[in-house]
């Protein structure tokens, strides 16, 4: 009888412990769901491009990604194509990319606008990321061989 009482107490202790554990797990999951562990919101907004294409200004406005780059290559170039994406499950895509080809003189700045952007957590008030790939060539080089440059913008989407 004494042994039975002891095992009952042990079982009750374990049951209470399991309940407490379950409550803690649910609390942590709820905090995670509401973004309490999303520490990226504490990071500043940034635009990272190679210094040959210095990022002067950038913004995510409405359904647009706006970008201003400087041509620091020391060479007149022709931009031949653009692409935009991110690492989300449904990656970012824009229906309207900047017109190409664009002739871009050295030591000048150029604005690029990607419109109709959706998916990839591209929502007003949300912090998101855009990976931009640009191909260009130098018309002075025979055959204008293409080169690729990558950049990344992390910013909060604001209302237009």
């Amino acid at each position: 009888m004494h042994k039975k009482l002891k095992s009952q107490a042990a079982l009750e202790f374990l049951t209470t412990y399991a309940w407490a554990f379950l409550v803690i797990l649910v609390t942590i999951e709820a905090l995670y769901y509401f973004g309490a562990f999303d520490f990226s919101k504490f990071l500043p907004q940034r635009c990272l491009f190679p210094s040959q294409f210095e990022c002067i200004d950038y913004s995510f406005v409405g359904d647009q990604v706006r970008l201003r780059l400087a041509n620091n290559l020391g060479e007149n170039i022709r931009v031949t194509s653009f692409s935009i994406t991110n690492d989300a499950v449904n990656p970012l895509g824009c229906s309207s990319l900047p017109a190409s080809p664009i002739d871009w003189a050295r030591d000048t700045e150029q604005d690029f606008v990607f419109s109709g952007c959706q998916d990839g957590v591209f929502l007003v008030g949300e912090r998101t990321e855009a990976k931009i790939t640009m191909t260009y060539c130098s018309p002075l080089t025979a055959g204008c061989p293409e080169h690729t440059v990558n950049g990344k913008i992390t910013a909060v989407v604001i209302k237009p």
Binding site: F39, P50, S51, L73, T141, G143, P145, H147, V149, N150
Partner: protein, 149 residues
């Protein structure tokens, strides 16, 4: 019993607070250091690219039979180096943003000893570490040959 549980609770609260400060700080530090690494790599490649072009131009304008050996410390993210059409020095670089190219344009005719069509490979100087690069006047002073010393 009460005092014991109070101290246990205080202990748990201190651990929770410490973790609450440490985890976001570590995350933010990691993000900053990744960005900083990308910027440092970009800066190193710019410096190396400009040095190679400047040295090649110095050898070219010094005339026939001139030669310079340059020592450069190549970062590890440079996968390949090519000369295209004897005027574009192209570094293939892998960063956390993706694989891209850093291009340096030369005003003089540059070449390497491993050419196939319009592309001359300088793969021998890619890869991390200290590299000795030889620049010598070539083809009666009309070209500069870049190779590993």
């Amino acid at each position: 019993m009460n005092a014991k549980s109070q101290s246990a609770l205080e202990y748990l609260m201190i651990i929770a607070l410490t973790l609450g400060i440490m985890v976001p700080t570590a995350y933010i530090f990691f993000q900053y250091s990744t960005e900083s690494n990308t910027k440092i790599l970009d800066s190193q490649i710019n410096q190396i690219g400009r040095s190679i072009i400047d040295t090649a131009e110095t050898v070219y304008f010094s005339g026939q039979n001139s030669k310079i050996v340059l020592q450069l410390n190549m970062p590890e993210s440079v996968n390949d180096i090519n000369i295209i059409n004897n005027r574009e020095l192209v570094f293939n670089v892998a960063t956390d943003i993706g694989e891209g190219e850093a291009v340096f344009f030369s005003s003089i005719n540059i070449t390497s000893s491993d050419c196939q069509g319009s592309i001359c490979s300088l793969a021998e100087i890619a890869g991390s570490g200290l590299k000795k690069i030889k620049f010598q006047s070539y083809n009666n002073g009309n070209q500069v040959l870049i190779s590993r010393s």
